[in-house]
Symmetry: C2
Subunit: 353 residues, 2 copies
DNA sequence: CTGTTAGCGCTTTCAG
DNA sequence: CTGAAAGCGCTAACAG
């Protein structure tokens, strides 16, 4: 059924029907109620394409990320996407999750959606910045908020950027580990973790801990490398390992326990992200936890504000926000301080200031 | 830029431009190439809404599921959704993931999308059938494929249905456990697992194993109930537990190990679904694994075929498909047969035929 | 093979 | 507060 025939049935003009549904323009509450009631009764639903074509708005937020080689690597993105979808819903928007395995295709798609107003705004979870730098200018008319693990460069204009800054969390983790008697704390790098890596180095220094280069394991992709990483680090007599992601940490725990290493007695493990599943591993995985709901809400709010601002033709500014994940303590971190090991370890670890 | 001005720039009619992009209608390869090239150069992209409004097609598949109370419970749906998105992509469609926390809203949304052709078809992951029965008739014009853990009732017409039938997998699991010396095999029910539950009962019987009602733990929702479930079952001297989902199994493993129960020596655990994370728990979680990529491909293929059929006005039939998940063996299942425990257990377990 | 034209179903001034 | 009418940008016959 189309608006015209429906309007005829109700006995009003199509304009009135339109107003009843869109909420724009003046309409008496009475007729509005009547129209809505009749619509339900007669089964009329405004055509979404016609509406979007005409209004140049879609009430959709595009959310873009790429598939990984294995689903397990997508856990973080999936959980985040879900939170984004929730947050969008709360703001009266629907999330258009655009998952791709092909970057070119994704770019093309983004361009199409953005330039035809199929989405009102876009949230980009960007790992490597190279591509973004290239195509963001092409959709400059479409508000965009980025979510990154590094500070967003001011040279690339966006409506907003959410920076997930692990530095404090990493410092907190390292000093916690130190306070519990650890001095040989290794780090397993992720795929794109320059910022985290730096934070680790700095945290070790701040904690007054020495550091051997061999305690840092280069970034790796698949779990099969997990065993190698742990073994390599254990050979270096590391007593704790910080991992750039929870997924890496899962791999580490798995491999370590297979080798008969007791967690957390022989080895403390800490991940990053705090996936939902991390609370239920054995032992529970301590993690520097990204508050995904906050990230999601911040992104969506920033984005919707940008959309409104734009609609009212206001000046374009960038709203930046930094979010500081904090250490979530769980069993993999080892027993609480000072009780069992601390005294002993203060003797054992010669490097403590 | 709109098609008219672009057509003018290129020096052809708008119809020709349309043909160049849509692939429909006759057009010389030469002009087509030229138009496409110019489009890229001038930055013209066909308006997606106008196109859909006019063609009454969207190349979108709606995928509907509801958020759970906690993200961990959504793992299965998220992984499946991702596979569905992949499969859709391969067929030239885009997935519109519609995640909701409110069933009414979801229904409304589905109605809107379906009735205005915002989606060409819909894939429904349906747990409880009650609601579906009510609103499916309302979108009878929109091809729909369902994914369920029970056989789809013929009384509710759909374009296709994928039935994930755990029966064989459950039988396989029970008999494997029996062959490894287990006779007291418990079961933890899920939220909606009538079919699985029946299969368990039947499998126990087929395996010639006795069964006490107390070995079956009623379905539960949150992990906090996990401890209770395991403890209750362990009190019944159960030596193996089958769980209706991997998530339940994770909870069981976590609680058991916290209580000092050794896995798999003291207790074998098997889940269902085979989440990506299950391969990386400690011990690795054996699971009756849903081949999500097959499920996804089957659903999407069935759906796209239905869409085509409908377009060509063919007769409507229901394509049903049954998928049989199989046991994926991992450490939580216990050591391989006959080597260590079998002999002993044949003596110990009096109930073996 | 290409151009013309009549819609697709709604929003939004602009009158009244 | 409501109605009339002019688009929104494209597709799909129908001519040529």
């Amino acid at each position: 059924m189309d608006i015209r025939t429906f309007a005829e049935i109700v006995g009003v003009s199509i304009a009135t029907v339109s107003r009843a549904f869109s909420g724009n323009g003046r309409i008496s509450p009475e007729t509005k109620r009547h129209i809505l009631k009749m619509a339900k009764k007669k089964g009329f639903t405004p055509n979404i394409h016609a509406r979007r074509l005409s209004s140049q708005e879609s009430a959709m937020l595009g959310i873009f990320y790429s598939f990984s080689s294995e689903p397990i690597f997508d856990y973080y993105n999936m959980e985040l996407a879900q939170e984004l979808a929730k947050a969008a819903l709360q703001q009266g928007y629907t999330a258009q999750l655009e998952l791709t395995n092909d970057d070119d295709r994704q770019e093309e798609r983004l361009l199409q959606l953005a330039s035809t107003k199929a989405i009102d705004g876009v949230i980009l979870v960007v790992g490597k910045i190279a591509r973004a730098r290239k195509f963001l200018p092409k959709i400059s008319h479409c508000p965009c908020v980025t979510i990154t693990n590094f500070p967003w460069p001011k040279t690339i204009p966006v409506a907003g950027s959410i920076f997930i800054d692990f530095q404090k969390g990493i410092e907190q983790t390292i000093s916690t580990l130190r306070d519990r008697g650890h001095s040989r704390i290794g780090y397993i790098r992720g795929m794109v973790d320059e910022t985290k890596h730096q934070a680790y180095l700095m945290a070790m220094e701040k904690a007054g801990l020495d550091l051997e280069p061999s305690w840092i394991h280069p970034g790796y992709k698949s779990f099969s490398d997990g065993e190698r990483a742990v073994r390599a680090l254990l050979k270096r007599r590391v007593t704790a390992i910080l991992c750039a992601t929870d997924i890496l940490a899962l791999g580490v725990m798995h491999a370590a326990q297979e080798d008969g290493v007791c967690l957390p007695e022989d080895l403390a493990v800490v991940g990053m992200d705090d996936l939902a599943v991390s609370a239920f591993t054995t032992p529970g995985l301590a993690s520097i936890g990204v508050p995904r709901n906050h990230v999601a809400q911040a992104s969506v709010e920033t984005l919707t504000r940008a959309i409104r601002d734009k609609r009212y033709d206001q000046i374009k500014t960038t709203y930046s926000q930094t979010i500081h994940p904090q250490l979530v303590e769980r069993h993999s971190l080892g027993s609480l301080p000072l009780k069992n090991i601390t005294k002993k370890s203060f003797d054992t670890s010669p490097k403590n200031a």
